[in-house]
């Protein structure tokens, strides 16, 4: 944290509370979310946007280039539109063709770049991109909504509001690959640029420009069908369309594999919450901002649909929580001393985890000066965290484990249910999967994604070693414990690095891990489609590039409440 950090009298919440899977699976977007950091910055810095190429035929096949120009660098989305047979349309990673494919180019591409990308981007994982590209992605149409919107516009009508609301987007992206994947530039190449310093800014920019392309494409397809009578999509309806995303298991291991980075995300949000809870009072303006956004949050909850039983239950609780929160405000207001802390203390006893995390995020809204600067603390620049201090003694390591992994030591790992699952990587698509350890032949291929079990095993293995022996001597002969020891030393310095739950139990819900990461991206309307993949909305309500300069670049995430 920066040295000028405000004094907090309320401490950050304990990792024991924060780092449980059920709570991580209840996180909401907030001021620090990566999409909002990006749109705020682009507005503040006066970024300009242009569509330099749009060569798409009447069948929807061709390419387009959208360029975002910042203060020192330009970034261009190179989009390829395809005519995809319906039977090939799948959001899953096992797909090999898509409605549209994209690369984010670092700068402004020339004709040679376009031809190079045309040969590689449409085949996604089967192609190669270069250090000039920052991301690789694809999207599929929402068949229902796409056809409806094209048909309505071509007939000279606006699309039906109910249809728009029930789906929320015209296309869903699936994987958005960045950071050196498939030949793209490594993060280190761009990390020093101020606009790329926060996590995932290139990927978020790519999706932002993709949404504009998709709006233009649907208009183009309607025009091709309807000719002169075609209606222009109402800008307000267009703004209510986000871009969908389907996220599968591939994302879940990320937060386990990047413990320092994940710590920094959680720590930034927890610090922001602590700062707001520590405020002695709230001004009338701040209270008005909060009340206004609470009403809009209720509108967001109303527009959040899911068919998944778990999420249906959680949404029911969220609705009840928002009612209770509104009633509480009516009763007690925010006039007393340390009003946010009082409200949050109440919420911890009265609301579900969905409601508590929703409130935690909402409370930050009136305080950009206290919160937004923390956005720059969310990347991981500490490469030395990887190094093991082998001079630490056996007894010191055991003590660290007892302090930071008491939750893992409390699990009976000999119970088959505690180890029912195993994370592995499949041969056919090289993507992470979750298997049944005792029913499928996957245990030999297990990835190191069960830190709780592995640290508990390390703790036991150290029990008969000489207390004062440096742990390096132990590791020399027992290299199988090296990854677990590294995590212990990281967790000792980074309190929010580790999920305090069993990631391989028979009850683990990978969607909880997905939601934690996606909430930091700024996603809304989580709609699990099973226990291991989820659909979300991105940029729903956000101004389009040509609207950004004068639009709401920050609280667009909350729909306007009905008055």
């Amino acid at each position: 944290m920066p040295e000028h950090a405000p004094q907090t009298t309320v401490p950050r919440r304990d990792p024991t509370t924060v780092m449980r899977l059920s709570r991580l699976g209840s996180l909401h977007q907030c001021r620090l979310s990566f999409m909002r950091q990006l749109t705020r910055r682009m507005q503040a810095e006066g970024w300009t946007f242009s569509r330099s190429v749009f060569e798409i035929d009447g069948n929807g096949v061709g390419h387009a280039v959208y360029t975002a120009q910042g203060p020192s660098h330009a970034y261009s989305l190179v989009a390829f539109a395809h005519d995809l047979p319906a039977e090939k349309r799948s959001d899953r990673v096992i797909a090999d063709a898509w409605d549209a494919t994209f690369a984010l180019y670092d700068g402004i591409p020339d004709a040679g770049d376009i031809e190079r990308l045309r040969a590689n981007v449409p085949v996604q994982e089967a192609g190669r991109i270069s250090e000039r590209e920052l991301s690789l992605s694809r999207a599929n149409r929402s068949v229902r909504l796409w056809e409806h919107v094209v048909d309505a516009l071509a007939s000279g009508r606006q699309p039906d509001a109910g249809m728009i609301d029930s789906v929320g987007y015209l296309m869903r992206t699936t994987a958005v690959y960045g950071s050196g994947k498939f030949g793209a530039a490594d993060r280190e190449v761009i990390a020093d640029r101020p606009e790329m310093q926060a996590p995932f800014q290139a990927e978020m920019l790519s999706v932002y420009l993709t949404r504009a392309f998709i709006r233009d494409l649907v208009q183009h397809m309607a025009q091709a069908r309807g000719g002169a009578q075609t209606a222009t999509l109402d800008p307000a309806i267009a703004r209510s369309l986000g871009i969908g995303n389907s996220t599968g298991l591939g994302m879940a291991p990320y937060i386990v594999n990047h413990p320092v980075l994940f710590n920094n995300w959680i720590m930034a949000r927890e610090e922001a919450i602590a700062r707001v809870r520590s405020l002695p009072s709230a001004s009338a303006d701040e209270i008005a901002t909060f009340r206004g956004l609470l009403a809009r949050m209720r509108a967001l909850a109303d527009s959040w649909h899911s068919e998944h039983p778990i999420q249906i239950g959680k949404l029911k609780m969220l609705h009840a929580d928002l009612d209770a929160l509104t009633a509480r405000l009516e009763e007690t207001g925010l006039a007393g001393p340390m009003p946010w802390n009082a409200l949050f203390d109440w919420a911890e006893t009265a609301l579900s985890e969905e409601g508590q995390e929703c409130l935690a995020s909402l409370m930050l809204e009136p305080y950009p000066d206290l919160v937004d600067g923390l956005g720059s603390c969310m990347s991981d620049t500490n490469t030395d965290a990887f190094r093991i201090d082998g001079s630490m003694t056996v007894v010191q390591v055991r003590s660290l484990i007892e302090t930071h992994y008491d939750w893992a030591l409390a699990i009976d790992w000999s119970d088959p249910a505690a180890q029912a699952r195993a994370w592995y990587v499949s041969e056919e698509k090289l993507e992470p999967r979750l298997g049944e350890r005792f029913e499928e032949p996957v245990a030999d291929y297990e990835q190191p994604l069960a830190p709780g079990r592995d640290v508990a095993t390390l703790h036991a293995a150290l029990s008969d070693r000489p207390k004062d022996q440096p742990v390096a001597a132990f590791l020399l002969a027992h290299t199988g414990h090296r990854h677990a020891l590294r995590r212990v030393q990281i967790a000792a310095r980074a309190p929010y690095a580790e999920i305090h739950d069993n990631t391989i139990s028979d009850k683990v819900l990978p969607i909880d891990m997905l939601r934690a990461k996606l909430a930091f991206f700024g996603a809304t309307r989580f709609d699990p489609r099973s226990d291991r993949w989820v659909r979300i909305a991105m940029y729903q309500g956000a101004p389009y590039p040509e609207e950004l300069a004068t639009g709401d670049a920050d609280t667009w995430v909350y729909p306007e409440a009905e008055t």
Partner: protein, 206 residues
């Protein structure tokens, strides 16, 4: 030649090391080490592929002397880096080391950790590691399969620092050998795992 990002280098090296039988923790070290070498423009991928084809022996104690046969540079490297505080007070001598290039990332990490620059002699080729930069009068000489004697001492090696690289050019042969090892970490697909493991659920063609 394939042009790889350094992330790809690290991921490939880590999987290859794991596929060759190293523990996950050691495979992570191999990935970081090869990435660092590649960023210095040194042939880390080739050195790792050669090492996995002809592995060295792990030291049996922290003095790194009681090994029989060539020492594994990764095992010796982590032992030196784990006990970085011991390095640089006087001379540390290693005999009979396989793929000595792979030792350098660990010594650089130790130098960064302790703030003490190291001067490393590998059969007469001198390398300076100050925690940030690498100096070497003839980096091409570092591409050797084996070192008879390595002397690690405090001090510097006056020479221009090696330029930093953001990509690695890897030969088809090296990449193929690493990928063959890496492939051993992937579970063969079955129809059941395809549906179950990837997460069957509601239709996504809507």
């Amino acid at each position: 030649m394939t042009d790889l990002s350094l992330n790809e280098v690290e991921a490939t090296a880590k999987r290859a090391a794991r596929g060759a039988g190293l523990s996950w923790g050691m495979a992570e070290e191999a990935g970081k080490a090869v990435r660092w070498l590649s960023a210095q423009g040194l042939p880390g991928c080739a050195a790792l592929a050669d090492l996995l084809d002809a592995p060295g022996n792990a030291p049996t104690s922290l003095d790194l002397l009681s090994s029989s046969g060539p020492l594994c540079p990764l095992a010796a490297g982590v032992a030196l880096s784990d006990m970085a505080g011991r390095l640089g007070a006087g001379d540390t001598v290693l005999s009979d080391v396989a793929q000595p290039l792979l030792l350098l990332p660990f010594l650089q990490a130790a130098a960064r950790q302790t703030g003490r620059a190291l001067r490393v002699g590998i059969d007469g080729t001198m390398v300076g590691l100050d925690g940030a930069q690498v100096t070497c009068s003839d980096p091409a000489d570092l591409d050797m399969p084996h070192a008879r004697r390595i002397v690690i001492a405090p001090g510097a090696v006056p020479a221009p620092p090696l330029p930093q690289h953001t990509r690695a050019e890897v030969t088809a042969d090296t990449l193929e050998r690493l990928n063959r090892y890496a492939h051993r970490t992937y579970a063969p697909a079955t129809e059941a795992s395809r549906l179950l493991g990837a997460g069957a659920g509601l239709s996504d063609n809507d």
